[in-house]
């Protein structure tokens, strides 16, 4: 990944601020993610990690600062335009369409990028131009055998994998992953870590995660967010050694 980090970054946050009343949840955040780089964002609960992901994906508007994606300023764009530009995300609390099957969920993402995403009279279920790319994404996350199961019936880890498959169909330039391992059991967690490792290098990823073992195994760069502020950023080893980080975060966690 050493080459990747040298390239022009895909995602650049600069001077990002967001406050809810008197509470500053994002305080002058600046960070960037290069193509193919896996950038992990860690920090204690309430540090403002999810709020930051919401701002990057367009669900919240920052008070000041800018978000640039593929060289374009997207700070004011609504979520759907960011998604169409190739910025995909997953949610801390899994977010799928429960009454659609895995295949249909994933095909929804393919459809968003199709020539006629909202054709009124064109049957969706039997549309091979939607289903074929969907199958590929499903295979990539290992859900092939579960393709016709309703998303609402999947296990927690499978839902996480489904969200990643949906993100992949957007042909993303960057993927925001909000705690993909949260609440997942050990065995499924290991499969998810392997899945993320297999995607690494192909997509720029911003990974918010509490599982330190996973973070230090996967990340090229680690940034530490405390009270809305980035207190350290760098390669895993130097962040791990940073005394400020140890005090503010790692120490607390044991």
């Amino acid at each position: 990944m050493t080459d990747a980090t040298m390239a022009e970054p895909v995602l650049v946050l600069s001077g990002l601020n967001k406050a809810f009343g008197a509470l500053k949840v994002t305080d002058g955040v600046a960070l960037s993610v290069a193509p193919g780089e896996l950038h992990a964002l860690i920090g204690p609960n309430g540090a403002g990690k999810t709020t930051l992901v919401h701002q990057i994906s367009g669900m919240l508007r920052p008070d000041t600062g800018s978000i640039r994606f593929k060289g374009q300023n997207i700070t004011a764009l609504p979520p759907e335009k960011r998604a169409r530009a190739g910025l995909a995300r997953t949610f801390q609390i899994t977010s799928t369409i429960p009454s659609l099957s895995v295949l249909e969920n994933v095909a929804l993402g393919v459809q968003a990028r199709a020539a006629q995403p909202l054709a009124l009279f064109r049957n969706a279920a039997r549309d091979e131009s939607l289903n074929r790319p969907a199958w590929a994404a499903i295979e990539a996350v290992g859900l092939t055998e579960r393709a016709h199961v309703l998303a609402g019936r999947l296990s927690h880890g499978e839902k996480r994998a489904l969200e990643i498959a949906m993100a992949l169909t957007l042909e993303p330039a960057a993927i925001l992953l909000d705690e993909p391992l949260a609440g997942v059991g050990r065995a499924e967690g290991e499969r998810l870590i392997a899945l993320l490792a297999s995607l690494k290098g192909r997509y720029a990823m911003l990974l918010v995660e509490h599982d330190m073992e996973a973070v230090f195994a996967l990340a090229d760069t680690v940034s530490v967010l405390v009270y809305g502020r980035v207190i350290a950023s760098g390669d895993p080893a130097s962040v791990r050694a940073d005394p400020a980080v140890r005090e503010a975060y790692l120490g607390e966690e044991g």
């Binding site: 759907e80 799928t96 429960p98 993402g109 995403p117 009279f121 279920a125 055998e145 296990s155």
Partner: protein, 329 residues
């Protein structure tokens, strides 16, 4: 690597395509009704079922936004009323040609849907219910204020619409089949829309609008299009209603009418298109029977609605499924 191994494996083959058996049976039964009447069923049934099918068209259109889209609109009767009033006013003004009336009905319903939908869809939940109710009421008061066209008393029509000079609405059996044809066409249209790319996104947004947005769809715009389409179909039912009753009145769009349309959809089973038709038929039959017993039939009907809501889920179609009918539709 597979995430599936922990769970019960499911067959990879796609589930069998559903066949609309109940809907086919329903339309076949409806088509045979005039035959049954000629064999001795009370002739009153023909009028009743024609009226029920007209309301079924409106209920079907409501089901598109309410059942599929998850938008509880409490002003749907306004579209029926606009359709009826345009028809009534144009006939009164000597323009009874359908080829003239229908485009105006569709255009006005689309316009009303676009404007009120644009404002209402900025809100969600309870506020959306209240706003659609208020807009519906606005049209109701507007019709009351139309003193040139009967105002509060309504407007009696002295002729029905004509098609290219012919008069297909005069014959009761002809009218019945015409309404049945329109119902079938609307059912087909809405079914195709629900199964389309558009319909898939509309339904997905009901369950998880955020996910649909971050997947790259403008949820508000999709809902607005559905709202407009739904309003236009309801306008057609208003057009038919004016022709059947030869009378239009503000009461067609009073807010209890909107409530009744919602009940028809829920009675049949929310989101089930043939359910909306069954709901409309059941509603009008119940009204007919109860109002035959007593003028105070609403004292019985009101509690029936309450009990129905409290104790049944899934409507009549859900009930049929439980009993093993129409499992594959």
């Amino acid at each position: 690597m597979s995430l599936a191994s922990a769970a019960v494996p499911a067959p990879v083959t796609a589930p069998a395509r559903r066949r609309p058996l109940v809907a086919i049976a329903l339309f076949a039964l409806l088509a045979l009704l005039p035959v049954a009447v000629s064999l001795g069923l009370p002739a009153h049934w023909l009028t009743l079922v024609t009226r029920a099918m007209i309301f079924a068209i409106a209920a079907l259109s409501l089901d598109l936004i309410l059942g599929v889209g998850g938008l509880v609109s409490f002003g749907h009767a306004a579209f029926v009323g606009i359709g009826a009033y345009v028809t009534g006013i144009m006939i009164t003004e000597g323009r009874s040609e359908i080829m003239l009336i229908l485009p105006v009905v569709l255009a006005l319903c689309a316009l009303f849907g676009a404007v009120t939908g644009f404002v209402s869809l900025r809100t969600r939940g309870v506020t959306f219910i209240m706003i659609t109710l208020a807009f519906g009421q606005m049209v109701y008061f507007l019709a009351q204020a139309l003193s040139a066209y009967g105002g509060d008393d309504g407007l009696t029509l002295y002729e029905r619409s004509t098609v290219l000079g012919f008069d297909p609405f005069r014959n009761r059996i002809g009218f019945f089949y015409l309404v049945l044809g329109v119902l079938l066409a609307c059912y087909g249209l809405v079914s195709v829309i629900v199964a389309s790319r558009f319909g898939r996104v509309l339904g997905a947004a009901r369950e998880n609008a955020t996910r649909v947005a971050v997947t790259g769809f403008h949820v508000g715009r999709i809902r607005l299009v559905a709202y407009v389409i739904s309003g236009m179909i309801a306008g057609v039912s208003g057009f038919l209603l004016a022709n059947q009753t030869e009378f239009v009145s503000p009461a067609y769009m009073s807010w209890p009418r909107s409530g009744e349309l919602i009940f028809m959809v829920v009675l049949g089973g929310v989101g089930s298109l043939h359910g909306a038709i069954i709901g409309a038929l059941a509603f009008l039959f119940a009204e007919d029977v109860l109002s035959g017993w007593t003028e105070h039939w609403k004292v019985i009907f009101g509690p029936m609605i309450v009990l129905f809501v409290l104790f049944t889920r899934g409507g009549l179609v859900g009930l049929m499924r439980k009993l093993g009918v129409g499992r594959h539709d």
